[in-house]
Homo-oligomer: 290 residues x 2
């Protein structure tokens, strides 16, 4: 497949990398970009991720055969509303949002009859760096891409979009929006919340400078995701709050169990729990769950 004209709304790490990857794979002609930050859009142009800067999302999608919306998820409904009347019949619209139920609800509310053209998606390729400056055409190589297709979608459009992501290196899976939001609440959204919580708690203490002064490699890796984009994560937390609250409750129960082991200095049970966790992680690293 080849797309004569692509629109990318939100040309950050994900949108910029997608555009660079399509170009590297020679899957597209002109890429029009739209975004909030003039400086970032200029940078996207200079990096060759996009070929033109559109004045807004509606202008960007004009004549586009493929539209990627890669903004923080709370902006997506407004974008759908603004582009709805401008979208070419048969254009494929997709997104890169980290939550899917809210994006699907926004699409149903905003797109009307064009809902069939929207195929929800989520590339699992976050990083703590944001903006097009961090974009890279190889970002999706070996990473998962989740498709959460709607029953209204044309089968051939789903196949085209899956092939396109495969062509730029992603491993494509399909999930329902509900399953997606439950799974990523556990393995992505909760860890981000815990990392933010730890760094924030330490940063507010009177002896924060001393504590950070002695923090080392374990702390650095554990908290890497606490350098993630605050607005993006605000939107994810709000959009997926019900699933995330379930995960917070599960984690709190586990932590309470461990707290009791500490209180009773139950060395054997602590070692068993740590050994089980390590063994599970080793199985994961060895590819047993791929």
């Amino acid at each position: 497949m080849f797309f004569e004209r692509v629109a990318v709304i939100g040309v950050g790490l994900i949108g910029g990398s997608f555009a660079l990857a399509l170009k590297a794979a020679k899957r597209c002609g002109h890429v029009a970009g739209a975004g909030r930050s003039a400086a970032n859009m200029q940078r996207a142009l200079e990096r060759g991720a996009i070929d033109s800067i559109a004045s807004d999302a509606a202008a960007a999608v004009q004549d586009a055969d493929l539209v990627l919306i890669s903004t923080p998820v709370a902006q997506i409904e407004k974008i759908f509303l603004s582009i709805n009347s401008k979208i070419k019949a048969n254009a494929i619209i997709t997104d890169a949002g980290s939550t899917k139920r809210d994006v699907v609800a926004a699409a149903r509310a905003a797109l009307g009859a064009r809902i069939a053209q929207f195929i929800p998606a989520h590339p699992i390729a976050g990083a703590e760096h944001s903006g097009v400056a961090a974009a890279n055409p190889e970002l999706f190589r070996g990473r998962r891409l989740i498709l959460a297709p709607l029953e209204e979608n044309r089968k051939q459009d789903i196949e085209i979009l899956a092939s396109l992501w495969s062509a730029i290196g992603a491993r494509v899976s399909r999930m329902t929006p509900e399953a997606h939001d439950a799974v990523f609440a556990a393995v992505s959204h909760l860890p981000h919340l815990l990392a933010y919580a730890l760094v924030h708690e330490v940063s507010e203490r009177s002896d924060a400078a001393q504590l950070f002064g002695y923090a080392a490699g374990g702390f650095r890796d554990f908290t890497r995701i606490a350098s993630s984009h605050p607005e993006m994560w605000r939107d994810i937390c709000v959009a997926n709050s019900d699933q995330l609250l379930k995960e917070v409750a599960r984690f709190s129960a586990e932590l309470e169990k461990i707290r009791k082991l500490l209180e009773t200095r139950d060395a054997a049970s602590l070692e068993k729990l740590f050994a089980e966790a390590r063994a599970a992680r080793e199985r994961w690293l060895s590819g047993e769950y791929e």
Copy 2:
């Protein structure tokens, strides 16, 4: 300084790296090692970390001018008891334990008049890999080494030990055992506990395989320290349980605060908290707290 004969009790990642570093810096003659695993000791010999395998700790310290105890902390008191009558007058004894109050108490209980020869220390150079196979002479380069000297220690011995660690690349600081255990409960022990808790909680679910299957880079880095040595971390948790319980309480209070923000979908407060955490982490990464 040059040590004709060094004893390393527990030749794992830390003990093995220390021996390799001393040899690379030409600061020692013969290194005798003692340890529980015959296979690991053989490997230590083959890697050139040690020059001889002693039958036990007491045999290893015979004639040694410098003794490093680098075993999980719960073993240290027994080792002190077994080596006490064999230690040369004026030999420097030190350790690499991740907790310091318990090690100091063990030394006071076991070493009697030789307490002056024991200088507590902790190199901040953990890794999720253990055993001498993971040892490396450059492990301590740029890493912190905490000295927690006793008032009985000879000033010149403290200087010698500090110089030795500096010679193999460590940045030497001094703290009291109490301050040490409080600081590392916050920036090291708690993160380890949280990482173990998350992986363990996920691993026990019926859909664990699916969850791990979609876990990506953020999860990998966040949980790296959950691959740490279970016995070592059991000992740390038990030895430092009082400080660690305080940290669990602080973290739980922070998580409860965030849980309420999720429950009320307080987007602005969530974004503020995430932005503050990110800013604190960026200040830390920029070296502001060095």
